[in-house]
């Protein structure tokens, strides 16, 4: 059982790190600000979620695990709100977003 949980941690954390890599590549390589915002807010929040899911089996108490999930939910909420607000500050010239 513990081997299964360890493998779960390894796989989920590695997948989360991969999504952070994808978010950084998108932020650096995408052509305009809207696509960069898209890459950043989706890929990084998913990466953080996978890291949190991977760390959950290592947590001893239920309250600490709930705290981890609450952090992820807070980041999801604030990321979604902030991306909408940041997109509103961008100028709408040329092609529609």
């Amino acid at each position: 059982m513990s081997i299964v949980l360890e493998w779960w941690t390894v796989i989920a954390v590695a997948a989360g790190a991969f999504f952070f890599l994808a978010g950084t590549v998108g932020l650096l390589r995408f052509p305009d600000a809207f696509t960069r915002l898209h890459a950043l807010t989706k890929a990084d929040n998913l990466g953080l979620g996978l890291v949190v899911l991977g760390l959950l089996p290592m947590i001893v108490s239920v309250s600490a695990g709930l705290m981890l999930v609450c952090i992820w939910l807070l980041v999801l909420l604030s990321g979604a709100t902030a991306s909408q607000l940041i997109a509103r500050t961008l100028p709408r010239r040329g092609t529609p977003p």
Partner: protein
């Protein structure tokens, strides 16, 4: 297991550092803010991973504070940006809002 978690935290911090190149390149202020948001999300993931690797429970509180600060940073940026845009339109236009 701790070595793997340390390695994952280092990898994510490296990705965040690469993403900070967007602060230098710009071009818009929103792009720079996106890189700062990436620092928030990636910092939370790295702190959580380090906390799990060392067994330090207080890192969860650090991650929660980082999540809150990243959200407030984005909102403050949008607030300052919209106030700035309003001032510009007031001085440029003919008094019309």
């Amino acid at each position: 297991m701790a070595e793997f978690l340390f390695g994952a935290a280092t990898f994510i911090l490296g990705m965040v550092a690469l993403g900070l190149a967007r602060v230098l390149r710009g071009p818009a202020d929103a792009d720079r803010m996106m890189a700062a948001q990436l620092l928030g999300t990636g910092g939370i993931a790295a702190v959580l991973l380090l906390g799990a690797a060392t067994g330090e429970a207080a890192t969860v509180d650090v991650a929660l504070t980082l999540a809150l600060l990243a959200a407030f940073a984005s909102f403050a940026f949008v607030k300052a940006h919209s106030a700035h845009a309003r001032d510009e339109s007031r001085t440029d236009g003919d008094g019309a809002p």
